[in-house]
Subunit: 220 residues, 2 copies
DNA sequence: GATAGTTTCATACAGCTGTTTGAATTGCAA
DNA sequence: TTGCAATTCAAACAGCTGTATGAAACTATC
């Protein structure tokens, strides 16, 4: 059916271009040129540019969340309902990092698109973003199971920092590469994931409530 | 002198609008309306929109770097040329976090503008960004002095993660607030700085070379 | 107070944006 | 084949964008 090839050609091209150049720099004419279809096809199949972006975002959002969630449940059921904190964090950041830093170009486009969407907040996406909060809450709950007794604030900060390190690694990998003159190996995806998980879990296991050396050094 | 008030009115309004809504959503007409000046004034005083953005970015970039550098040198000279790693990290992330999370609206606009500029890479800014690498290299050198014997890769990863946590905290403070339902206190700027410094320095002091529990748990 | 230089202003311009239109083409059932 | 719906297409649309223009208003010097 030719409908579907046009539709999916638009989706694929749009995702790739948005991933590469961001939302601001890509026009509908760029997309249809890359997809090899007529300009009017976008409005015919999606209604508007915003609805195209929204469909892209919703689809990928659901896929990423499912991937994360499957990893989490696998880890938890392997441990009898409670996974080590490292496994929970790995389920949270693994899918995105594997997608962005890995070699598979389709996965890479998808992951980079999501990173863009997470940063450059544009109207069609802003509305959908609320769901992500609920999704992250499930991970906070899993982390609470991994670290019983840990104050909630610590859990949230740990989750926040883990996502921060993973996202920044994807977004600004070029700066890290140039700064380190290639010493930091970003092609070793599992190594990068290990690093982020290690730092985040270390922070979560240790108390970081501002009574540590950092706060002390601040107070002279 | 009326020249300067128009010029600076444009700069102030532009910085605020860019900080609030990002580069994609703000037009010259928005800026001149907010500044209360004529449309043609932008091209008269700055030559073009891109040059306005570039001036904004260069000015703030120099100011931020100087602020960071002064803090670093103060800490190092207090310790006889070698500062504790916590102080180095604090000098790196303190200025931005204080600017963004603090109450001073002018500083806040400046800091948020810089965060936007760091993310939404647009042509006029991309060219200037190379200087930042050199600036960060100075901090890497200071970190090396703080932690003699630490492998360079660890230094760069630590620097990268510290910036990641600070920037994400600014960029997505709303998500963290909603996720934690207000439990995480972002108004306590020094507390936030302490947290980031604590996690980053903890990671740097401990070995995170992928031989830790995270990597082990991955390998089952 | 006339003059020269600077700054402001309303207005126009060309280019690009997302969207619409109506005709042409295609695919498929009767 | 005929008829009908779905899809594609070239062309045009109105709106907004950054920029340019030339006249008007201002400022300061003589």
């Amino acid at each position: 059916m030719s409908t579907d090839t046009t539709r999916s050609a638009i989706l694929t091209a749009a995702e790739r271009l948005y991933a590469e150049r961001g939302f601001g720099d890509v026009t509908l004419r760029d997309i249809v040129a890359a997809a090899g279809v007529n300009l009017a096809a976008v409005n015919y199949h999606f209604g508007s540019k915003d609805e195209l972006i929204a469909e892209l975002f919703v689809t990928r959002s659901i896929a990423t969340n499912r991937e994360r969630f499957n990893e989490l449940k696998a880890a938890e059921s392997a441990g009898g309902g409670r996974a080590p904190i490292e496994a929970v964090l790995r389920a949270l950041i693994g899918p995105t990092l594997r997608g962005c830093l890995g070699q598979d170009s389709e996965r890479s486009d998808a992951a980079r698109f999501m990173i863009r969407a997470a940063i450059e907040t544009i109207p069609p996406i802003r509305k959908i973003k609320n769901r992500e909060i609920d999704h992250l809450r499930k991970f906070a709950a899993a982390m609470r199971r991994s670290l019983p007794g840990k104050p909630d604030a610590e859990i949230y900060w740990g989750l926040h920092f883990a996502l921060a390190m993973a996202q920044q690694t994807v977004r600004d990998s070029e700066r890290l590469l140039r700064l380190s003159e290639g010493i930091c190996d970003l092609d070793d995806v599992d190594g990068v994931i290990d690093r982020v998980v290690a730092v985040a879990s270390l922070a979560l296991k240790t108390g970081t409530t501002g009574t540590g050396e950092a706060a002390v050094s601040r107070r002279r």
